[in-house]
Subunit: 381 residues, 4 copies
Amino acid sequence: MLVEQYDLTREQTKALCLPLFTEDYIPQPVEFASPPKWHIAHVTWFFEEMILKKYLDGYVEFDPQFCFLFNSYYAGVGERTKRFERGAITRPTVSRVYEYRDYVDASMRMLLASNPDQDIIDLVMLGIAHEEQHQELLLMDLKHTFSLNPTSPVYSSSRDLMEEKDADHGWVDINQGQYEIGFVGQGFHFDNELGRHTQHLAKSQISKALVTNGEYLEYMKNGGYDDFNFWLDEGWAWRQENNVACPLYWRQIDGEWWHYTLSGMRRIDLDAQLAHISFYEASAYANWIGCRLPTEFEWEVASTEFSWGNRWEWTSSAYQAYPGFEIREGAVGEYNGKFMINQMVLRGASVVTAASHSRASYRNFFHPHMQWQYSGIRLAR
Amino acid sequence: MLVEQYDLTREQTKALCLPLFTEDYIPQPVEFASPPKWHIAHVTWFFEEMILKKYLDGYVEFDPQFCFLFNSYYAGVGERTKRFERGAITRPTVSRVYEYRDYVDASMRMLLASNPDQDIIDLVMLGIAHEEQHQELLLMDLKHTFSLNPTSPVYSSSRDLMEEKDADHGWVDINQGQYEIGFVGQGFHFDNELGRHTQHLAKSQISKALVTNGEYLEYMKNGGYDDFNFWLDEGWAWRQENNVACPLYWRQIDGEWWHYTLSGMRRIDLDAQLAHISFYEASAYANWIGCRLPTEFEWEVASTEFSWGNRWEWTSSAYQAYPGFEIREGAVGEYNGKFMINQMVLRGASVVTAASHSRASYRNFFHPHMQWQYSGIRLAR
Amino acid sequence: MLVEQYDLTREQTKALCLPLFTEDYIPQPVEFASPPKWHIAHVTWFFEEMILKKYLDGYVEFDPQFCFLFNSYYAGVGERTKRFERGAITRPTVSRVYEYRDYVDASMRMLLASNPDQDIIDLVMLGIAHEEQHQELLLMDLKHTFSLNPTSPVYSSSRDLMEEKDADHGWVDINQGQYEIGFVGQGFHFDNELGRHTQHLAKSQISKALVTNGEYLEYMKNGGYDDFNFWLDEGWAWRQENNVACPLYWRQIDGEWWHYTLSGMRRIDLDAQLAHISFYEASAYANWIGCRLPTEFEWEVASTEFSWGNRWEWTSSAYQAYPGFEIREGAVGEYNGKFMINQMVLRGASVVTAASHSRASYRNFFHPHMQWQYSGIRLAR
Amino acid sequence: MLVEQYDLTREQTKALCLPLFTEDYIPQPVEFASPPKWHIAHVTWFFEEMILKKYLDGYVEFDPQFCFLFNSYYAGVGERTKRFERGAITRPTVSRVYEYRDYVDASMRMLLASNPDQDIIDLVMLGIAHEEQHQELLLMDLKHTFSLNPTSPVYSSSRDLMEEKDADHGWVDINQGQYEIGFVGQGFHFDNELGRHTQHLAKSQISKALVTNGEYLEYMKNGGYDDFNFWLDEGWAWRQENNVACPLYWRQIDGEWWHYTLSGMRRIDLDAQLAHISFYEASAYANWIGCRLPTEFEWEVASTEFSWGNRWEWTSSAYQAYPGFEIREGAVGEYNGKFMINQMVLRGASVVTAASHSRASYRNFFHPHMQWQYSGIRLAR
């Protein structure tokens, strides 16, 4: 069963890469993104480094240089390539990286066939979740790279991932009181969801539907990007310095609004959910319309009463440790805790999130100026 | 009575400037600090702009250019000098700014003698609190400027403000349960303290004493600045990029540790409270010693059981709105809410904080890399 | 004959790319370099844009987007991709670019078979020279990209291009007097070589041999990189800021000096000609040894009396127009004149320069901090 | 006689500072400029460090810290304050620096009364020339600082230094032939003027008058700042990045062109000589009008046949060593040679240049993007 889940995840990654040409695996045009080749090697390295090297007797490392090349932020594992030089690494070739995947997969199957103990199972589950995260990052990064190409390449003509709509509208009531927050149950979860604890919430309401492109366009037409009153001070500085005047990937062509999607350039669908906005933009929009963003606790409490899963949703909560948060020993411990500063929590999931990777207690996080994730707005008041 | 409080505050500002030469009023060597002349003009401008222009009949503006010159972030009031060019503004001269102060003070006394209504009283209270904040900033900024001078100028030979010690040690117990957080009472308070609300806290302990220079030196000697394991990812990047290896103002001279103080260069007192560290450093130290920083809620709840007031204390809480936070109308509304992103809350007060400016519900905030405020560490676990 | 020269040049470019994998065609890790794919497309675009579109009746553009994608600095031709985003352009694929080359080649052969007039011939000659320049750039850029790869990829095991030695030593005497400088003759030449004119030279001497790795290592061991006295003010700032302490590509491994070459990591050959140094380094070395760099006029005058051609040689001459320099009409006129500021002239040729691209009047030029060209030092006094 | 020249120069410096308030002595808003206090201390330090310490028996240094504080680029003399922190140095006070001047002046008079030998006389002459240079820099820097002040401070109401006009027009003919270039005679000169040598010039013409504000405005109205064809590649990048669209200090107010002068804001005088333009702007203007800038050799040869001295004039010559240029031993040797890279020569003198500091062989130099010197355009063809 675990082996099936493992195989499925590994197959999904490969399937996502089917539309790619060799050339597409290489570029890293911005420091916050990574090349597809790096993603597919890095998730493999995780299994090799964290599991096979320690737990599979007689395992022979595929290539000693790969640890240096495909480690990411795990400083505990040793030196690594400078993040912004990932796009320079043309060798090993893409085929060689696929050989690496096959080699590690074969070894993982051997290990999984040997009745592994719970420690190993936990790490494999973590490795699967880790790969699912990188599946999403791979598509986010690819979209960003493709968007810089004047030819607007098409990743998939059938799947533009940008036309999701809400059926339900109106508001969910949240009553004042105490609520238990955080992961509960048996399945996989990250360390940052643990520490189930009590939160006292005041009375509030949260919207059943996400903000649409049409609603946001209305805000744009009313000068939302030009009135500092609605913006956080640093948000306004960001908007000014980068001359931001619409969501990432939107472009006005002959007076009409289009956006780059993984299906190429498409007309904006006014009824579809808005995406690719920063926290700064989300916060300004919420102020303009006289609402606010929900806290992550409000979101979690109300999440059974609205539909979610097509867009990550900015919350008003800074990404911080739950009470009793413990950092795990060793390199695995670097997973989440290191990033608990200057980032905001997003809840939900997106159309590029692996289905098995979606749960109400999930805490995603990005810096407030980031736009390349599929992020939208749910209002509260 | 209000007029006495007004006069007292205005006198305190002048008293702080007594040791200054005209030259000292001018420089702005870093963007985050401001020249003393700017501070003493800006606090005066606040009274003129927010109060006199609106509420004193027949009031004649002292100089129409001052609004442009001495406005700060109040975008609502109009254009203003670029922040980083404040140090270029030699005219008006210092004496002219003191004339401005006298002129505004005379007008304010007229207004306060006229039985002003509650709106005005509230604004005057805010103006006084605002000036008290800038009294502290003035000394922080001056210390930073003086610290760059190889001659280590002495501001006050009697008051080095860096030798405060805790008498009490051990831990305060915080019981699990619900607590009311936020300002309560009649006195002055900022908008960000309002919204008294319930917080549920888990059981914890908080230290009665702040971390001392000696304890921190021990950590330095044990390689605290060289082991990324204790640091947040962005903290480690900051430490590397800026080559930080000790608190701001510390210097090793012939093997001994000294620091620049407002009394000039002094030997480090090992028993005194540590100061001038960033949140990143505070967090790494807490990790190293196996503790953590308290949340701002834990701090507020326990604050009656330890002595505080000599150092701002980093908490683990991001600076965010309390439930129901409302932004006030107009420029005054820009006071606090605009900054609720990427900053961490500090609680307490410092030796350069005005005495009347200190209360348990006070929420100070700085970016996590800032060191020039008098900030120290109180541990929790 | 011209068609043969055309075909030969085009074949040479392809031959240079034989050892490349598809992946190697993509990256642009630094702004001053370009991806191999861009080079092979851009030189093709030059023929299409400057010649075929204007002079071949009925010529149909291969792909209208290519003009935007593969234009370089020719602002006169229209909009172009931002220079630093060339590495993001994965589509068109490498094979598509080779199709483009074939298509343009076929059309060029038709044009060349049609008895073209002198204007066309001149442009074809320019296009050939242009492609030869990019052949050199392609190898320079590839070496730079490969050098960032911890696996030190091998481009060609047989040709490391870094072991050239001088047979002849001693000094050439240059007599005081008037000399004619600049291109003379019938063959191809660039606009910047024209304007043959008189220069009066003082008596001097110029070395027959280039500085060797061994001589430079001696300088390094004597603290050449640590004594500002030998350096230009901006050179010293560059050296400090970038922490430069050896030629580009040199690395000290276990106390021994190695360097990255297109044959992979190799031990430094002490007797071989030094390469990959900036003008700042060349100037400091010359000062240290009590000599100077030659002017480009001295170099040209004496060039018949020493052997040259393995390394570009820094001169002490700033890159400026010869008297009577004329900018040609249209986009072709942007060729050289635009760059006559802040660059220094190099004379000679290098091991990666096309053989037919080498002549004594040739004026190459780079910014004084650039190191990635094959540049060495010839002393004068 | 030398003592009189010394006294006169020192008095001139003081006279230039008469209109300053203490505040004006402090700011350094940009790295390329220095505070007035620094200038008046630095020129004094030159006499103390280079002359008194070595040649006056029993001389006692005024204050040992001043060497560190007021050294500039003379790395040979030891550590010095970071250039961009000069504006932070409020102590020593301005009066203390004037005491320093008096102390050094008294000592210098003693030395000069003692029948000094030629080495000392040469150094004193150099010190005087050095102070004259800083007199000009002081006014340039002050103008720049004042220009940032929204109140447009007036340095001198009678002397705006920006209304100089040429009486003579037309062209001077330069015949083809050999000319001797460089300093000749007995008076003071800098090392960079030495090495009198032969230059062969082609036939050319040089304008008798400088370009006027009116002529330049005509160019602006014809889109000179918007057509890349006239610009050097790096000039165009500079213009785009800094959004330059007029000379430094020009401002359009209600459709009229004004400029900041040391007499405050003044209307542009269309007939007056243009000033405060960069080499990039000068070069683009010359291209636009179908001329070019003269070489420094053409300028020197023709300089007897036109009037000059109100504006530094950009030449097309890069700042490089004359043949046989020798760097003097010791710190004095750092005077000029260190800067012979990436700068362009200006000839002439300006209205803020000391009268005794003006000669036809003088080689001034600035980076091509600099605008804060009084620089104008003389055309050649």
